[in-house]
Symmetry: C2
């Protein structure tokens, strides 16, 4: 299956949006890829032709088994490159997403396998996201909960839900990284903000928008 970079990006977006919901809307994909719904419709026809998605006019899109397989390969490459950039080239976690978006399109199984070996076959990327193995199997460590919904008081940061530079820089500034231990001091109902404390630091409050995107596990 020979895919263009654009096709790969569509497959990846559909996979991402499909988590949870069954079928993905034209609009959602357009928003995710920063393009227009009409363009998505055009591409949907092509991907259907290639049997990578199921698609009926006006009724949304889902990946076929083959489509999912390809999505997982792309995600695997993306996350391995992120590990490489952080572990070997000392990039910080907010810098690597965009570079990995480009590197992920180099399709070579041999390269992917060797890169993975070189990195010690990591199972999570610098944002805490699981890395699919060569067969496309991925640990769904989604025993994780977003901080805004977690019940326990003592928590550990395990992943982030959003790769945007803005969020990651904010977390850097606050001293929040993967593995950081957090104590929930107070939850404020009126705006769903949370007051939290990190060891040896004064407590501070974060908005719902932020806490939604921090995935934690109870300690």
């Amino acid at each position: 299956m020979n895919l263009t970079i654009a096709e790969e990006n569509y497959i990846k977006s559909i996979f991402k949006l499909q988590e949870g919901t069954e079928t993905v809307s034209t609009n959602a994909i357009a928003y995710e890829l920063d393009t227009k719904p009409a363009s998505v419709t055009d591409m949907a026809k092509k991907l259907k032709e290639k049997k990578l998605i199921d698609y009926e006019k006006y009724h949304g899109i889902t990946l076929t088994a083959e489509g999912k397989k390809i999505a997982l390969q792309i995600i695997r490459r993306h996350r391995l490159w992120e590990c490489f950039l952080v572990d070997k080239l000392s990039f910080s976690w907010e810098e690597v997403h965009e570079l990995a978006e480009e590197l992920e399109h180099v399709r070579s199984e041999k390269l992917t396998t060797r890169l993975s070996d070189f990195l010690g076959n990591p199972t999570t990327d610098p944002h805490g996201d699981p890395i699919p193995d060569a067969q496309g199997k991925m640990n769904k460590i989604r025993s994780l909960q977003p901080l805004d919904k977690a019940a326990a008081k003592r928590l550990e940061v395990a992943a982030v839900n959003d790769q945007s530079t803005a969020l990651l820089e904010f977390l850097n500034a606050k001293g929040i990284r993967l593995g950081t231990q957090i104590e929930v001091i107070e939850r404020y109902e009126f705006d769903n903000s949370v007051e939290i404390k990190i060891k040896n630091q004064p407590a501070f409050t974060i908005s719902e928008q932020v806490s939604k995107n921090i995935l934690v596990r109870p300690l």
Copy 2:
């Protein structure tokens, strides 16, 4: 300067062909890039518009200073990735050219700098070609001569002139790699073939086509 991958490939080819000769022909570029002369003409207009080449209809192409600068950046990235693939991921020298052709198009100065540092700032790639530094300066170790023209009897292999898998696999099979020491036993005039000997091995003969592409330095 925002270039497409196609534009980068044209720049790189022109740079390569420009060595020695002053102006590069439409035909030569078309052959190098495995495309048609008409396509080269079209692209020449675009690159001229962007001031990366000097071009007058029917009178060939040369890179401007800016064009050369960009070419050297691309070559730098290409050769650094080749080093990475061989030194860190254990690829062999005949496998890396095609992968590097893809990786070289990831344009990030920070990535390039860090990759170079990670590799110990190498100055030659796995085929013996010099790697331009961040300023575009490149050791012209072209005190090197092709084996078919070298005068001395005892020689060391310093580089190869052709990245094709076919040649490199041939050299692998014959035990010829960078640093291999060669003794010239005999030169045959009628077909310009050379009989050579590598330490602890029986002598063998190689064709002009091969010896042209092996760059050596006297010992």
